[in-house]
C-alpha cells in the first residue's frame, strides 16, 4: 500500500468501486445468480446496489474514475495486487523503474504490460 495518505484514500475509493462492481456483476450473471439461489440466497434488491454505485462515484477522483473505467471496459479486474514484483493480473514481472514509481505522491501505479492499476500486497 502506498504511504501517501491522499493517494491511499483515492486508491481505497477505487477498491470500493471494484468490490461493488464485482458484486453487481455476479448478482447480474444468470448462471452465478441461479447457483446462489440454489444454495438458498436471494438477490431481490439489485437496484439498491446500482444506487449505492451512483453515490460512490461522487466520491471518486474524476481522473481515477476515467482510468478505472477505461481498464474495466477491457479487463475483468481493473485493480490487481503486486506480489514478488509481479503483476497478478498478467503475471509479468515489473521493471525496477515501475516499482520506484510507488514513491510518486500523486500517481496511481499501473502495469506497463496490461495497464491495470496496481497495489502492493503487505
Amino acid at each position: 500500500m502506498q504511504s501517501n495518505s491522499a493517494l491511499s484514500v483515492r486508491l481505497m475509493n477505487l477498491f470500493r468501486l471494484q468490490d461493488l462492481d464485482i458484486l453487481i456483476r455476479e448478482a447480474s450473471d444468470p448462471e452465478l445468480k441461479s447457483s446462489e439461489e440454489k444454495m438458498g440466497f436471494a438477490h431481490p434488491h439489485l437496484d439498491k446496489l446500482q444506487a449505492a454505485r451512483e453515490r460512490l462515484l461522487e466520491t471518486i477522483d474524476k481522473r481515477d474514475l476515467r482510468l478505472y473505467q477505461k481498464i474495466a471496459k477491457r479487463l475483468t479486474h481493473a485493480i490487481v495486487p503486486v506480489e514478488d514484483r509481479t503483476c497478478l493480473g498478467c503475471y509479468i514481472g515489473l521493471p525496477t523503474s515501475a516499482v520506484s514509481l510507488t514513491t510518486d505522491p500523486d500517481q496511481l501505479l499501473t502495469c506497463e504490460n496490461c495497464g491495470r492499476i496496481l497495489y502492493w500486497l503487505e
Binding site: 470500493r16 468490490d19 464485482i22 458484486l23 440466497f41 449505492a52 503487505e122
Partner: protein
C-alpha cells in the same frame, strides 16, 4: 490448516499434527479452509449491523486483513442485495473483496440469536463469514460456499455446530462429517 504438498498433506488441528495420505485429501478439504484464529464461540453483538462489524473485526484480528472498512462496506452492500440469512438459524455473509489476499472463513455462534432479516424471520445462531479475493486462482470460493450451505441444511449438523465450544469441536465435526459421508 491443511498444507497440501504434491503427494501428501499435513493437518494442523489444534496441537495435533497428523499425516494424511493424498487419497484422504478430499474428505478433509472443508476443514482446511477453517482456522483456529477465526473461530468465535460467542458473539457479543446483538444486532445485524453490529454482527457484521464484529465478524469483520474478528477477521481483521485473526487473519491480518488489510482494511476493515472496505470489508465491512462490501458485506453491508451484499446484505442490501438480499439477506444472507438462509433460514433455520444460519447466516453465511459472503463476497469478494480486495480487503483479503486469500480465501478466508470465520465461524461464529450466538446463543442468544440475532435478528438478521432471514427468509424465515428466525434469529440467527450460526454464522459463517466467507470472503474471497477478486481473483480466485484455484476457483475455491463458490464450491466452498455451496458445500457449507449444503452442510447446514441438515438439522443434525446445525445442532452439533451449536454445541461447538472450541475450534477442536468444530474440526472434529467437519472431519467426522465428511469422513463418514464421502
Amino acid at each position: 490448516m491443511l498444507v497440501v504438498g504434491p503427494r501428501r498433506a499435513w493437518i494442523f488441528s489444534g496441537v495435533e499434527v497428523r499425516y494424511v495420505s493424498e487419497s484422504l485429501r478430499e474428505v478433509t478439504t472443508i476443514l482446511h479452509y477453517f482456522d483456529p484464529n477465526l473461530f468465535c464461540a460467542e458473539l457479543e453483538s446483538r444486532t445485524k449491523d453490529d454482527v457484521l462489524r464484529e465478524l469483520t473485526d474478528r477477521l481483521v484480528q485473526g487473519a491480518g486483513v488489510k482494511d476493515p472498512d472496505l470489508l465491512y462496506d462490501m458485506l453491508k452492500r451484499r446484505e442490501s442485495l438480499g439477506s444472507t440469512g438462509i433460514g433455520k438459524g444460519v447466516a453465511i455473509p459472503h463476497g469478494r473483496s480486495l480487503a483479503v489476499n486469500e480465501l478466508r472463513v470465520l465461524f461464529a455462534r450466538s446463543s442468544a440469536g440475532v435478528e438478521f432479516e432471514s427468509m424465515d424471520k428466525k434469529p440467527v445462531h450460526l454464522f459463517f463469514l466467507i470472503v474471497a479475493p477478486p481473483q480466485d486462482k484455484r476457483n475455491e470460493y463458490l464450491p466452498l460456499l455451496g458445500r457449507i450451505a449444503e452442510l447446514v441444511k441438515e438439522k443434525k449438523v446445525r445442532d452439533k455446530l451449536q454445541a461447538c465450544e472450541t475450534f477442536e469441536d468444530l474440526a472434529d465435526l467437519l472431519e467426522g462429517k465428511f469422513g463418514a459421508v464421502e
